[in-house]
Structure formats: structure tokens, C-alpha cells
């Protein structure tokens, strides 16, 4: 399972970076989304995968006696997903506005104000 996840994370990062290098605004956003998902999965994987051991203390005992699934990475991922959701929503509105104003989605054209002044 770890190997599979590791390969998938690698593919997500690679695909995300590839998409970011394209010249289209839409592909740029897709690239960012893929990278974000890759990062979330990475937290999940590096938080150690433990199957079928919820971190619930049995009645009567005070501590968890055996190995358990760490709940912290899941809390982190949840936070990160919510944040990136907000940012992605903003990004999509931003590219829509940019497209309307600049009338192109080619990143090479979006530097009217960047020449040496």
C-alpha cells in the first residue's frame, strides 16, 4: 500500500509541475490543484499508515496499549483541504476575470506591464 501511494504521490507531483509549465492559465490552475492533492496525500503517507486500529482508548484503561492510527495527519489534511479549496475557488474567479480583461489565456501574453520601464 505504501509503495502504491508513494508512486501515486510522485505522479501527482510530476503531473502538477508539468501542468504548471504549460502556457495556459487553466492548465496552471489544474497543475496547482494536482500539486496540492499530492501534498495532502504525502502528509497522509508520512503520518504512517496503520490499518484497522482507530485511536480509541478501551473502556477501563488509561492509555492506548497497542499501535494505533495517528489522527493528527488526518486533522492536518482536513485543514489543508479546506484552505486549498478556498484558494482554488479564488484562483478560478481570478483566471476568469483575467481572461475577460486581458482576452487571452496564454501566459506569455500576460505581461503587458512587465517590460523595462
Amino acid at each position: 500500500m505504501e509503495i502504491l501511494l508513494a508512486i501515486m504521490i510522485g505522479v501527482l507531483y510530476a503531473a502538477g509541475i508539468y501542468m504548471m509549465f504549460r502556457r495556459s492559465l487553466v492548465k496552471l490552475i489544474i497543475g496547482i490543484i494536482l500539486l496540492g492533492n499530492g501534498a495532502n496525500l504525502l502528509i497522509f503517507l508520512l503520518g504512517r499508515l496503520v490499518k484497522g486500529k482507530p485511536p480509541i482508548i478501551a473502556e477501563g484503561s488509561k492509555y492506548l496499549s497497542e499501535a494505533y492510527a495517528d489522527p493528527v495527519p488526518q486533522a492536518l489534511i482536513l485543514t489543508a483541504i479546506v484552505i486549498s479549496f478556498g484558494l482554488q475557488a479564488f484562483a478560478i474567479v481570478l483566471i476568469k476575470r483575467t481572461y475577460k480583461v486581458v482576452k487571452t489565456e496564454d501566459l506569455d501574453q500576460i505581461n503587458t506591464f512587465d517590460e523595462f520601464e
Binding site: 504548471m20 495532502n40 504525502l42 502528509i43 503517507l45 508520512l46 481570478l94 500576460i110
Partner: protein, 508 residues
Amino acid sequence: MTQQLLIAPLLLPFALAIALMFAWFHIRYQRVISIVGSVASLGLAIWLFGRVWQGGIISLQAGGWAAPYGITLVADTLAVTMVLLTAIVGLAVSLFASGSMINQRLRYGFFPIFHLLLMGLNGAFLAGDIFNLYVWFEVMIISSFVLLTLGGEKAQLEGAVKYFTLNFLASIIFLTALAVLYGLTGTLNMADLSVKIALIEQRSLVDVCALIFFVGFGIKAAVFPLYFWLPASYHTPPPAVAAVFGGLLTKVGVYAMMRVFTLMFTRDPFIENMLLVVAFFTLFSGALGAMTRNNIVKVFSWLIICHIGFMLAGLAMYSELALAGAVFYMIHDIIVKANLFMLAGVTNKITGTNKLQMMGGLYANYPKISLLMAIPLFSLVGIPPLSGFWPKLSLILGGIEQGHWPLVAMILLASFATLYVIARVWAEAFWKKQPEFERPAGFRYFGDYPVLKRVLMLLPIGLLALVSLYIAFGAVHIQTLAQRIAAELLHPEAYIEAVLGSTKELMP
């Protein structure tokens, strides 16, 4: 009781933002609430600074969850100094925005979002938990995206695409580094990390992790070679927004680096060499960029990059003297850079342009305002005894002490480059006679504004100039402060004890 009040610098801007949202269509009320609230924030920050200065590090375990399991807020001297500087710049920008910003932009909600940005900044400075730091970074950048695009002009949108992409990318890299760090140590509390990272045996993995953190923070701090988003976007928003960005946002990246590379990652030659090389080239490329631009705001943007190099150099040298220089430089830089962007806003309103060739005649037409503007301009250069001089002295002495000759030479060169650039700005914009050119129709010149607005634009420049003068002539006080911060950074035991100390005996 003091501990609980540590959360006040986060709650106050949040409450202000909510109050401002209720006054959404009443711009006049918004101005008053924002200015009064900023004064209150400043009072709070001064009080907090006083408590930490006298009583040492304060930490708050949110919800009573003992560290390292809960979220911790920590106020050490560096954190409260940054909160204080944020409050000073926040007040200045509040005043400046009330005077300079057009009503259409204010109606889109500039003030509420501005206070949310300040909340993000305060949160980032007080966070004692690295994931919490990530969350505050996000609060900060999403507010900054909105501020940058407010108004929706073509130039702004184009700048925003670059700013957004690279800052979002930086967040993802930061998150990746967090994942690796959590995998290595199983904790996120910075004090706890400081203890646990030292125990890891696979140092190469730790170095890789440090490198990922460096790239993430490096994009935010605009260091070489990750700075390209900054000069592409900072000249596009209105001057009040550029002032907050230029003064505070890149410094958060530097602050995060100072935390991470003193508290968490202990020094080894790899990290040290990397920081030295990056500092060298940041100084070099920033100086070159500033010398070749002809737009006053772009010149200042490139100077931000150049001067990030000074702080990085101090961090790279890692002696108490050099680190104190870096902290001193940061204090001076936040005040002066925020002031410069406001100054550029006023010169734009006087001359009707940002292009240096087209500007001119400022000194002939407005001699008093020009003299006021001379203070931040020449403070930046660091002509003794103005405020930029003292930290550079510490940095150069620190560099000589340790024999980092190339870096010392580059610091001197970058200082001369800054002198050249500012002298050029002074000669072009202030002394030269303004050439005739087609004035944009319907442009509102400085003289057309009512007196109150003009005062509101000049007051914050005067306020920050006064602070700069205090930093210059009260340099002993600032140096004492900077040395104390440097000592705290180099000996994080007190920080660790303030966070973990009380919980040691609770651990099973």
C-alpha cells in the same frame, strides 16, 4: 491572566474586521473604525511588548491542551517586536488609505480585508506550532490576494496571476516540508521539534527537509532565485496596499526563516553555505535590478529584494553580532519600506506619473514635503547617523569577525548601489525640472484633494519618518533589543522551557 491576553492581538483585528463588514456601505464609519481600531492595536502591542520585555517569554496553550499536543502561542521578544511593528505599520496604512484610496476601492471592502491581513500577520508571529504557522500564512496570503486584485484593473490582474501562482506554490512546498518533518519526528510544536530534530540520526534527511522549508519560505521572502513574482506584482496595487506588502509581507518569510533555522534546524556546513550563497546573490541581483529600472515603484520593489539579502546575510553568519544586525535591519526595513511605498503614492499624486524621466520639480513645488520625504529615502541608504547605518555596521563587523570576505564586499557594494539608486531618485524626481507631457485626463492631483485628505496622506509618512528617526538616534535602545533577540535565537533553551517546561512532569 497575561497568558490569556496573548490571543488579544489575534482577536482584536478579527473583531475589527467583523465590525467593518457591518459598516460595508458606510465608508466614513469604516475610516473611523479602522483608525481607532489601529490605535487600539498599537496600544495593545506596546503593552504586550512591555510585558515580555520585563517578564520574559509568555506562552499560551490553547484550550488548556498541554504542549506538544495542543496549539501553542508563544510571545518571545522577536515575536512581540514584530507584532509591535505590524501595529505601527497598520496604523500608518490605515491613515494613508483613508486619505488616498478612492471610494470605489473602499466600497469593495478594503478595510475589513486589511484587518484580516493584519490578523494573519500577528498570528504568524505568535504561532508556536509549525502547522499553525502554515494556517496563518494562508490567512495572510488569501487576504493579500484580495487586496492585490481590489479594483480589477488589467495590470493588477496580470500581477495577481504571478503573485497568486508563486505564493500558492510556496504554500504547497511548505506543506510538503511539513509532511516530511512530521514523518521524521511525529510532532509539530516548534519547541518540541527543536528537541526532537537534534536526536535524528539520518542527518541527510534533515538537510533535505530544511531545504524544502527554505524554498517554501524563500519564495515568500523573495530571495534569489525565487523572487520573480515580487517585481512583477508590487507596482500594480494602490500605494496603500503596496505599503503593507512591501513593509511586512516579505519580512514574514524572513521571520519564518529566522525561527526555523535557529530553533529547529541546528547548523551544519550545508545549510550555512546555502544561506551564504543565497544571501550573496540576493544582494547582487536586487541591486542590479534596482539600478536598471525607471519606474519609482519598481525601483523600490527591487530594493526590497536587495535588502532581504542583508537580513539573510545576518542569519547566514549566525553569530550574535550578525544576527543582531539582521534583526535591527528588519526593524529598520519594515518601517522605511512601508514609508517608501506611501511616499511613491504621494509623488504619483503630485506629478501624475511613476516614471522617473517624467517626474520632477517636487522640491521646487513642495519643499517641505520633499524634506519630509528625504528622511525615509536617506534612512534607507543608511547615511550615518540615519537608521540604515547601524545594522549594516553590525553585519559588516560580524562578517569580518568570521572572515566571510565575499559577503562583506557584497554588503558594501549593495549599500553603494542603494546610495546610487536613491541619489538617482532624488535627482530625477525632486531636483530635475518636470518635463512637459500629456497629463492624463481626469487625474486627481495632490492639490485637488481637500485639506483633510492631504493631511491624512502626509501624517503617516511623518509618523513613520519619526519612528525612523527614533531608530537612528535611539539606536542604543534598538541595538539592546536586537542583541537580546539574537541571544534568545541563539540560545533557544528559554523558549523551549517556556513552551514545554511546565508539561515535562505531566508526560507519562
